[in-house]
């Protein structure tokens, strides 16, 4: 296991370089740059923009240098912990990320926990009561959950809670705590409001996990080792949880890898609708406005999450399933 981890970490380095380069290229692909939009906006408003002004702006953002130099400067600064300057937000990318990443990580972790805590028992229940009324109802709800778009669910929840209970479910942190630095009160406050986002972002994922687990459980429950476990005199509970679930949970564990980044990009629209200052909305904005350093940095952070998530799920899989060996 140690050698496996070590090897993975070594492969990680060139992989991340490659990803960062790809991210940067993709952001550079659309014609024009942030400055073009900025200058034309100024001109439309009747400002006169001189050649010298443009050049100073270009120099300030490093846009006067060729592509590879810009990439190199950005990446080497990134490694030193400086992600560049956000042109739309007029502050360092570091600051933007720092303000927002807390929300994103919190939403991601709570959503993953929510998905597993809800999906695993329902998946097990559906599989042992297959084709019962409860199973069919849960299947129906699951497909509903899978097919309702995020933002739609967010709007419905907002409407329902506002019109029936007079509750405003937008935002994550109470207004009076907004400017405060992150501390325990603020985290607890956020956690008490987080359920709306979690439901919105996690419903589809939960429904998917339930389907996967139900199918896996049904496969396993039909195998002979289950009958053998029963014939030993184990209780049905032990047969299901200790024997079937441990084999059936396998594909769920391997989803953790892509669950992390999916939650960040999946929560973009939900966050916009619910007015939550997470990384998602900032990423969408930066892409629309060609705020290249911000967009590149967020993409890169997401990529790092995929890689970390994959390593976590690989390690978990190896711990759970002895048939999987990496060395």
């Amino acid at each position: 296991m140690k050698t496996f981890l070590l090897r993975r970490l070594i492969i990680l380095l060139p992989l991340l370089v490659l990803i960062s380069f790809t991210a940067f290229v993709i952001i550079e692909l659309p014609p024009g740059s942030y400055l073009d939009t900025y200058i034309s906006n100024l001109r439309q408003q009747g400002h006169d923009v001189s050649r010298a002004q443009i050049e100073s702006l270009e120099r300030r953002y490093g846009l006067d240098k060729p592509f590879h130099i810009r990439y190199f400067t950005w990446f080497s600064n990134f490694l030193r912990g400086d992600m560049g300057y956000s042109m739309t937000q007029n502050k360092p990318v570091n600051m933007v990320v720092r303000e927002r990443i807390g929300f994103s990580i919190m939403i991601a972790i709570v959503t993953i926990l929510f998905e597993f805590i809800v999906a695993v028992p329902i998946g097990i229940y559906s599989s042992i009561k297959k084709h019962s009324f409860a199973d069919h109802s849960l299947t129906f709800l699951g497909f509903l959950g899978l097919s309702i778009p995020n933002f739609m669910l967010a709007l419905i929840l907002m409407y329902v809670f506002y019109s029936f209970f007079g509750m405003n479910v937008t935002g994550l942190v109470s207004r009076d705590l907004l400017g405060e630095p992150w501390n325990l009160t603020k985290i607890l406050d956020a956690l008490s409001n987080i359920w709306v986002v979690v439901i919105v972002v996690g419903t589809a994922g939960t429904a998917g996990l339930i389907r996967v687990l139900r199918g896996q459980m049904l496969d396993e429950l039909n195998k002979e080792y289950i009958q053998a476990a029963r014939s030993k005199g184990l209780s049905e509970m032990m047969v299901v949880l200790k024997h079937a679930l441990k084999v059936a949970i396998n594909p769920l564990i391997s989803t953790i890898g892509w669950l992390l980044p999916r939650i960040i990009s999946g929560s973009v629209i939900a966050s916009i609708v619910l007015g939550i200052p997470a990384l998602g909305p900032a990423m969408l904005n930066s892409l629309l406005e060609q705020d290249m350093y911000l967009a590149g940095s967020i993409l890169f952070i997401q990529a790092i999450m995929v890689v970390i998530g994959t390593i976590i799920s690989d390690v978990l899989l190896a711990m759970i399933d002895p048939r999987i060996r990496y060395d």
């Binding site: 002979e224 080792y225 053998a228 029963r230 014939s231 030993k232 184990l234 441990k246 084999v247 002895p322």
Partner: protein, 344 residues
Amino acid sequence: MDNNTIDDQKSKLLEVKNLKTYFYHEEGIVRAADDISFDVDRGETLGVVGESGCGKSVTSLSLIQLVPQPHGEIVGGEILYYKESGLPPVDVAKLGSHSKEMRNIRGNEIAMIFQEPMTSLNPVYTVGDQIVESILLHQNVRKKQARAKAIEMLNLVGIGSPEQRVDEYPHSLSGGMRQRVMIAMALSCNPNLLIADEPTTALDVTIESQILELMNDLQGKFNMSIIFITHDLDVIGKMADRVIVMYTGKIVEKAKTDDIFYNNKHPYTRGLLNSIPKIGANKRLIPIEGSVPDLKHLPEGCYFVSRCPEAMEICINEEPPEYQIEDSQTAKCWLYEKEKEELM
């Protein structure tokens, strides 16, 4: 041998009376075990033969209340289990599938081994863990003792270097080894009865004969009874003291093993024997004509009538009763009505 031990050996362990296990499907009822009665004596091996789908497995699963859910159900009859001779029996058919009494019998007093050694062990636990699980479930011992017992059992079933094997996962063992592990697991609680559901069907012949030998050997050591289910008559010849022959959920013939081979009474038993090849015999194989009728739509009379070379008028309309031919032999066939009349 004094009288006492003879009595002991002849004493009943299991008495199945009119067992009915049915499956309720939308398209109809399948009577997988229909009015089945048989006994198992202490220390004997009872062979159960028949084609696939004749109800052998369902009958054996009924004995430990593990009829496949949700469609299957024991709908009638008694399964009397004599834990100790002299004491009143337990009727297993009345116990709930999940009840504590049933679970105490399962694995502990009646153990089972299965057809597919490749899939009958859980792939994510070591073989040791799986044997230890059984031991801890039924015996009041510590984990360490249970592990020692597991190693002892592995040694007993002929697995080399059991101290290492105990920590291995099933996927690193061959099919024959896994079946040995299954046997070790089944015998770890010293059961009174071992149900072996086609335990060697999935193995190749050399391994098969090793496993059969091992089972015969261990039967003596553990002084247990075996119900040996198979469709292979050769295997029955090697293993069984008595045999029941099943066809479409019914027992058609019950006899001592020798009688099954040399003095069989039911046309179906004869048909089965005629369809096995013998080395050196220059005879054409005679298969049984036709095929097994649809279990959901069984004919009115004898279920074998459409395939029977000796079918008579009465067979079409009326189901034959079970005739006692000798002390230890019965046949469910109208042929013996005639004989009875001739005798009179």
